[in-house]
């Protein structure tokens, strides 16, 4: 690249290029950006060639040669993707063993969920009412999924599966591990030795073990510690394991934020007469949490994908249902399609989180 020559890559924002005749603009742009030197030219051509090969392959696999309607036999004869398999298995992959005739319930809840997320995106709407909305939604989720409280056919927790289960693990995981992580971070910074010690022990021992071992413990050991007569379904125990695990990571992220706040902020707030709780609430935490938006969302994305580990204690999350769908003797051998499908779902959620975090950072850097 001609160093320092090209400032704006977008033609529509470059007055110099806009002054040129229509076709000439593209000519100049290409010359500046892709073919400035022999090495540039070589690299550009190589990359364009690779991109071309990849897209043409995908195009063929996904569209031209794909089988959209038909049987497994049709699929096997064709070269492309077996979309027919996905169409056939989508309800199972998405909702697991949830009874077919009641699938409208998780579907409806999912729509609500998306609406609620869309509503929560704007920062001006973050207030107590929004928190209440979310709690109400969670209650609604359990009531509707189960059904027996409102006179619908009961669907026990052991039949929940697929996307609702994955989303539940992720949303509750994020919703609870965030405040818990903040509390732990504050505990770790506390001057009270007992509180500080306990926080450090908790954080370090949880971070020192893999999530899988926590999930095993939750499924095998936790029942032993529960008081007699109390039983907690495996799913809820796994949920707790995920919350505990993630909160330890969250605590370290928040601690980083707390340490980034200069001592002068504390001093100024103390000199004004604010007490410690108010300083945290009004001055330090708002700034600290803002500093760590990117690593926070990074932790959330990790958590979202880690929910797929519950497969090892035989919970029917999205990953499990995808895997189980491959076992149908009529439709053997379409694992690429199944895994691509769930990968796409995971990607959509994680990428949205990532994009949203960048937006938040941008908005908040203003003030």
């Amino acid at each position: 690249m001609g160093a320092g020559q090209v400032k704006s890559i977008k033609i529509s924002k470059n007055p110099e290029l806009l002054a040129l005749p229509y076709l000439k603009r593209y000519h100049v742009w290409l010359k500046k950006n892709l073919f400035a030197t022999p090495i540039d030219t070589l690299m550009s051509i190589t990359i364009i060639f690779i991109l071309w090969k990849m897209t043409s392959f995908l195009w063929d696999w996904l569209l031209t040669s794909a089988v959209w309607v038909g049987t497994a036999e049709n699929c096997r004869q064709a070269q492309g993707a077996c979309i027919a398999f996905l169409l056939e298995k989508a309800p199972f992959i998405l909702f697991g063993f949830y009874p077919q005739e009641s699938i409208w319930r998780p579907l409806l809840l999912f729509c609500f969920f998306i609406l609620l997320i869309a509503f929560s995106k704007k920062r001006e709407r973050w207030n107590l009412n929004l928190g209440i909305f979310w709690c109400a939604f969670l209650a609604l989720f359990f009531i509707f999924m189960d059904g027996s409280f409102i006179g619908l056919k009961r669907v026990g927790i052991e039949k929940w599966g697929g996307l609702p289960l994955t989303l539940m693990l992720a949303v509750l995981g994020i919703g609870f591990s965030y405040p818990l992580g903040i509390a732990l971070a504050l505990g770790r910074k506390s001057k009270l030795p007992v509180l500080k010690g306990l926080s450090i022990i908790y954080i370090e021992s949880i971070r020192g073990v893999p999530l899988i071992s926590l999930l095993f413990m939750s499924s095998v050991m936790m029942p032993l510690f529960l008081p007699e007569g109390v039983t907690l379904h495996k799913l809820l125990r796994a949920q707790l394991a995920i919350i505990f695990f993630s909160s330890a990571y969250m605590a370290e992220v928040v601690r980083g934020g707390l340490e980034a706040i200069p001592q002068g902020q504390w001093e100024a707030a103390r000199a004004l007469g604010l007490n410690k709780m108010r300083i945290l609430q009004l001055v330090v935490l708002p700034q600290a949490l803002r500093v760590v938006i990117a690593p926070t969302v990074n932790t959330f994305i990790g958590l979202f994908k880690d929910t797929s580990l519950v497969i090892i204690i035989a919970l029917f999350d999205l990953m499990y249902t995808a895997k189980a769908s491959l076992k149908d003797p009529e439709w053997l051998g379409f694992s690429v399609e199944a895994y691509m499908f769930v990968a796409l779902i995971y990607f959509v959620f994680c990428f949205s989180m990532s994009k949203y975090s960048r937006r938040l950072e941008r908005e908040m850097s203003k003030g």
């Binding site: 200069p262 100024a268 103390r270 000199a271 004004l272 007469g273 007490n275 009004l282 003030g367």
Partner: protein, 245 residues
């Protein structure tokens, strides 16, 4: 004989083994303006920070506005309500706009209704001549403007005493005057002020008393005319020779 608003007697402070403040005795009357100068590391900032308990002291006595400030910070809430402080690095809250910076403490410490707090904030902003920047954020203001906001923020709590810890040291030279002007206005209104500063011109103009500190002791304390014309102590002469060229 009125009782002094600040009374420090036989006060000592250590940072671990290091004896920062040695046998400090100081009485300040209501409305008095004191300027403290001295070489860096002489303990002048520490002394000022002891008065609102940003630093603790180990022996002696500090009485502020009639309240004994305990060595473990007893009465600190009472005292901080009456003592405003301005820092070298302004320490405005960067995530809040100017108006919110000013109303924060009145609302949360004095439980003042928001509207009233905002009205008062606007008064003080016009006093420091920044009432046109109300909704900006601190980072959008110049250093001098930020320091004036910091003064207004402290004034919003309607303190009886104002502490200034090197308020102009972090400023570009052309901004020093606008801050000193505000401080002069404040002095003229009868505020009790304790200012750590190297601005000797300012000291000459507004101070009732100038203190010179070195190695944790108050070596000299005099009205400005005497202090600058015939300093008693050799160390003071040396220091003045360096700062007044």
């Amino acid at each position: 004989m009125t009782t002094p608003i600040i009374e420090i007697s036989e006060m000592h402070k250590w940072f671990d083994d290091f004896h920062v403040l040695k046998d400090i005795n100081l009485k300040i009357d209501k409305g008095e303006k004191i300027v403290i100068c001295g070489p860096s590391g002489s303990g002048k900032s520490t002394l000022v920070r002891c008065l609102n308990n940003l630093e603790k002291y180990q022996s002696g006595k500090i009485i502020v506005n009639g309240h004994l400030l305990g060595k473990r910070g007893q009465n600190v809430e009472l005292i901080r309500k009456e003592v405003g402080m301005v820092f070298q690095n302004f320490n405005l809250f960067p995530h809040k706009n100017i108006l919110d910076n000013l109303t924060l403490a009145p609302i949360w410490v004095r439980n003042m209704p928001k509207k009233e707090a905002e009205e008062r904030a606007m008064e003080y902003l016009s006093l420091v001549k920044i009432d046109d920047q109300t909704y900006k954020f601190p980072a959008q203001l110049s250093g001098g403007q930020q320091q004036r906001v910091a003064i207004a923020r402290a004034l919003c709590m309607q303190p009886k005493i104002m502490l200034f810890d090197e308020p102009t040291s972090a400023l570009d030279p052309e901004m020093v005057k606008e801050v000193l002007d505000v401080m002069e206005d404040l002095a003229a209104k009868g505020m009790t002020m304790l200012v750590v500063s190297h601005e000797m011109g300012f000291a000459k103009q507004i101070a009732d008393k100038v203190l010179f500190m070195d190695e944790g002791r108050i070596l000299e304390s005099a009205v400005p005319e005497l202090f600058f014309k015939c300093p008693k102590h050799a160390r003071t002469k040396e220091f003045l020779a360096q700062v007044l060229h």
